[in-house]
Each structure stands twice: as structure tokens, then as C-alpha cells.
Amino acid sequence: MSESVILETKGLTKAFGGLVAVDKVDLSIEAGKITAIIGPNGAGKTTLFNLITGVYPVSSGQIYFQGGLLNNVPAHKRASMGIVRTFQHVHLFGNMTVLENVMSGRHPRSSYGFFEAALRLPKARREEEAISLNAIKYLNLVGLGTHAEHDALSLPLGQQKLLAVARAMATEPRLILLDEPGAGLNTSEKRQLSDLIRNIREMGISVVLVEHDMPLVMGLAEWVIVLDSGQKIAEGTASQVQKDPKVIAAYLGEEVE
């Protein structure tokens, strides 16, 4: 497999009881690019993310990350390998401040534990220093530097989504999966978001986003993959998939409602 591919799936399948949510999907995500996965509701986009990040075990098929088999790697280990995601329903830590949320994102990049913490040993203080410096860096990246001490949930939804991205970025990923980052944002917030996503790409991090908002996708994505009822029905550049009859058919089903 070519070096430029960061994530690859072969015949990836997930079935919940009888219902097959993801059906023999073959993907290969180009490194350093912005890839969008689109598709009508219930197409299995989020399930795909959950498989890649290890929330669910796969039913069959393989996932390769940077050439290594990912299937049996526990979810919490994947972050330190460089895979991180955000959630459709933000999932911020409500019992922390904005800064602490990002600091917790440094978890896989720091190591001191209960013991060092309990006695505040030099190691603890040193790492804590680094953690907060880095956290502030990523907070500024998403432009929330001024809100560091606020309660995470006191922010408006738009900023909460940015914060979620900052928390994910703090883990220094190679690949970041964004689950409907645009949902519920107004136009200016969306512009802010796209700039941020391009920024991330510039940092050499591969971005995969699941998104309903077509203009946003078309503006950002260099490669678009279309899922429908668990299967990959098309992929290509934005303009290519837009013309694809299968895609139009799939979406027509939705436009009606």
C-alpha cells in the first residue's frame, strides 16, 4: 500500500443484530488531505467513525492505520497512535473549565500519575507546566484563548464545537475525524470552522469529516466518499460525486421529506 494512504479499510462490516449498519466498505484515506464522508441519514457514517475509533468492535473486515492492523487495538490506545475524533453531540467535560478540557486532551502526551500528583513531585510540576502551555497553544489555535477560565458548557454551541476540536488537536493526532462539525452553526461560525479545518490540514494532519452541509463540504473537501445504507456508492472529487446519478438518487430520497 502506498505511503500516502494513512487509513484503509477492507470489507469493513458492522451488524447490530439483524441490521447491517456498515456493509463491506473499502476506504483508503489519503494522508494530509481533507476527506468528506457524506450520505443521507442512517447511511452509517457515524458507525464508521465508531469502528475506526474503536467504540464498537468490527463484525468483519479490517482497518489499517499507517499500514498497521487496527482491529484489536483498544479504543484508548488509538489516540496515542494518532487517531482522534470529535462528536456530533459535542461531549465536552461539563465539570471542567475550557482550559481544563483542552488540558485533558494532553493525556496521551503526558505520563505522570496518581503518585507523582499526590506528592506534587518535580516530574508532576514539570509535566503540568508543559500541559498547560500546550493547552493554551491549542486554545489560541481555535481562538478561545480569552475564555480559558470559563465553564466549558457556558460557551455558545459554536464555540463549544471549536473547543471540542481544540481538545482533539491537543492529542497531537495524525488523523482527525470530525463528526458533523458544522451542524447548528451560523454562517460566520461556519466560515471560522472551515478556516480552522484548512489550518489543521496545513499542519500536515489528515482530516476526515462527516457533514450534511453540502456547501461546507464542497468548499473544503478534496475527496468525497458517499455512503448509502451502509455501502459506499461513490467517491471522487466534489464535482464528480455531485454529478453521480447514484448519489443524486440516494439524496432525492431525502430531499422529499
Partner: protein, 327 residues
């Protein structure tokens, strides 16, 4: 040295609290409360553990009295029956209790919420039954007396005045350690688990492992408290470690505000002062009134009395500020 204390006012407050605690046991001050304060200190240690487990990590335990009891019994048996040095016994007890917590941790944390509550309750009761039934070691329901006092060199902790300082030394140490932990990487991980387990996993936190670790920590605290408990009473019986004891501990934690380390003192304090001091004048009605207060507090301030009071204090301060601001 001590995290969380940011302003000089915080330091002054801490110092003031310390001075107050130091003066309490003197007869010319609040000496007559020494015994109650000893139990408050002991229960504070257990409660802090519960706060870390329940308030910060969001895991329920209705069996914490079992760890408390294990510490008590292991200390008692080793130091009395086998003449082990009490301090060493205390250490062994903590290690054994912690190990036990570690072993049960992994299976039990496959459960969540109410089912976790059921399982911990069941475990607690099993341990309690063992305290009664392993009579050849524990002395059975009658318990065992003749447990030695703790001592350093020639200095024996044989008066409640001395034990008061012993207990509160440990209590404050535990409070400081816990304060340091919650504001650390590990502490954030715990709070993350509480906030959203899936999000925690997604940023590389091993959720189950952290749950187990905090359970072990709380068990070690409880064990330490249990050891201090028996070396104060010099007598141990199963009754202080039954189901109701576990409930009392949870009550202390909740009243102190589950997610607040220093609230633990307040929780243990109010509970004891209420039932061992204020309610005594109500004679036979004490239990009834206790039940009533329990309900009222939980109904009208489910986030705990301590937190409520802090809110009120804040509000007053702000109003005062505003007045000051007005020309």
C-alpha cells in the same frame, strides 16, 4: 506544595482552619468535643475517598463500609492476635484492602449506575457477613477487645487529646493529597470519565483502569480510617460496618457536596454534630428527626448542604460588592 490554593487569602483561610483545629481539644476551648472530632476526622478520611469515587469519577458505592471494616479488622487482628507492630499492621491493612479493591474492581466496573449500586451493596454485605462468621479471627458478632494503642517510641496515644492530633494529622494529609490529585492529570482523567466516557476514551484515557485506580485509592483511605478507628476504640465488632454504615458514609459525602474535597470535613462534621450533639436533646425523637432532616436536605439541596452554603455566600458577597460599587 499544595495545589488549588491560589490567592494569599486561600493560604490565610487554610492557616486559620489549622489554628482552629489545633485549639479545639484544649479544655478552655472546645475540649469536650474532642471525641466527636476524632470520629469526624476518621469519617472525613473515608468520605474524601467516596468523593473522589462518586463526585469526581461518577461511580456509586454503597459498600464503602466494607473497606473501612477491612482496615479495622486487619489492623485489630494483626496487632492484637499476632503482636505485629500497629504501624506495620496499618500498612499491611491498607495494602491488603487496596489489593482487594483492585481485584474486584475490574469485574464490578462492567456495571454502571443503579446496577453498580446493587453490586457494591451486595459486596459490602458479604464482607460484613464474613466479619461475623470468621469468628476464629474476628471474634464474631461479639467482636474483640484489647487492641493496643498506637505509639511512637515511648509516646503512647492513650488519651483522646493525643489521638485527636494523630487522627487529624492523617486527615489533613489525606485532604491535601486528594486536593493535589483532583487538580492533576489523573484528576482531570477522573473528571473526564464522569463527564463523558466515550469522549474520555477518544482522547486516550483508559476509562476502566482509572475507575479501578480511584476505587483502590478510596479503599486505601477507608482502610487507613478503619485502622485509626480500632486503635481509638481498642474494640472492634461488625456492627459499625453494616449496610447502614455504608449509607451514613454516602450521606456524609453527599451533604459535603460530592465533588468537593474540603466539603468532606463539612459532611462528616454536620452529620456527627447533628446526631451526637444537637439531636440528643430530642430524646426518643432523635432518630425520627434525623430521618426528616435527611429527606429535607436531599430534596431541597441534592447537590449537598456545603455547596448550597457556598452559593449563598457567593451571592451575598456579590451583592455586597455591587453596593460598594454604587456611588
Amino acid at each position: 506544595m499544595l495545589a488549588g490554593l491560589k490567592s494569599k487569602w486561600a493560604y490565610l483561610a487554610a492557616a486559620a482552619l489549622l489554628v482552629f483545629l489545633i485549639l479545639i481539644p484544649f479544655d478552655w476551648f472546645l475540649g469536650r468535643y474532642t471525641t466527636i472530632m476524632i470520629f469526624i476526622g476518621i469519617h472525613t478520611i473515608v468520605t474524601v475517598g467516596l468523593c473522589l469515587l462518586m463526585g469526581y469519577t461518577g461511580q456509586v458505592s454503597l459498600g464503602q463500609a466494607a473497606f473501612f471494616g477491612m482496615g479495622a479488622y486487619i489492623s485489630a487482628i494483626l496487632s492484637k492476635t499476632y503482636d505485629v507492630n500497629p504501624w506495620l499492621a496499618m500498612l499491611i491493612a491498607a495494602v491488603m484492602t487496596g489489593a482487594f479493591a483492585y481485584i474486584i474492581g475490574y469485574p464490578i466496573f462492567r456495571l454502571k449506575g443503579n446496577y453498580l449500586a446493587m453490586a457494591t451493596l451486595g459486596l459490602g454485605m458479604i464482607i460484613y457477613i464474613l466479619f461475623i462468621q470468621l469468628a476464629q479471627f474476628t471474634g464474631g458478632p461479639e467482636g474483640m477487645s484489647g487492641i493496643p494503642y498506637l505509639s511512637i517510641g515511648g509516646f503512647v496515644f492513650n488519651t483522646s487529646f493525643r489521638r485527636y492530633f494523630l487522627v487529624w494529622f492523617f486527615c489533613l494529609a489525606v485532604l491535601l493529597i486528594s486536593q493535589n490529585i483532583v487538580s492533576s492529570r489523573a484528576g482531570r482523567a477522573l473528571r473526564a470519565v464522569h463527564g463523558s466516557e466515550s469522549a474520555a476514551e477518544s482522547i486516550g484515557i483508559n476509562v476502566t483502569q482509572f475507575k479501578v485506580k480511584v476505587l483502590v485509592l478510596s479503599a486505601v483511605y477507608a482502610s487507613l480510617a478503619g485502622s485509626l478507628f480500632v486503635h481509638h476504640l481498642r474494640f472492634v465488632s461488625p456492627q459499625p460496618f453494616d449496610f447502614l454504615a455504608s449509607v451514613k458514609l454516602v450521606v456524609m459525602a453527599v451533604i459535603g457536596g460530592l465533588a468537593s474535597i474540603w466539603g468532606a470535613i463539612f459532611g462528616a462534621g454536620t452529620t456527627h454534630i447533628l446526631s451526637d450533639e444537637l439531636l440528643l436533646r430530642f430524646g426518643e425523637w432523635d432518630v425520627i428527626i434525623y430521618g426528616l432532616i435527611l429527606m429535607l436536605v436531599m430534596i431541597f439541596m441534592p447537590e449537598g448542604l456545603f455547596v448550597k452554603l457556598k452559593e449563598v455566600f457567593e451571592r451575598l458577597r456579590l451583592r455586597y460588592r455591587r453596593r460598594g460599587a454604587e456611588p
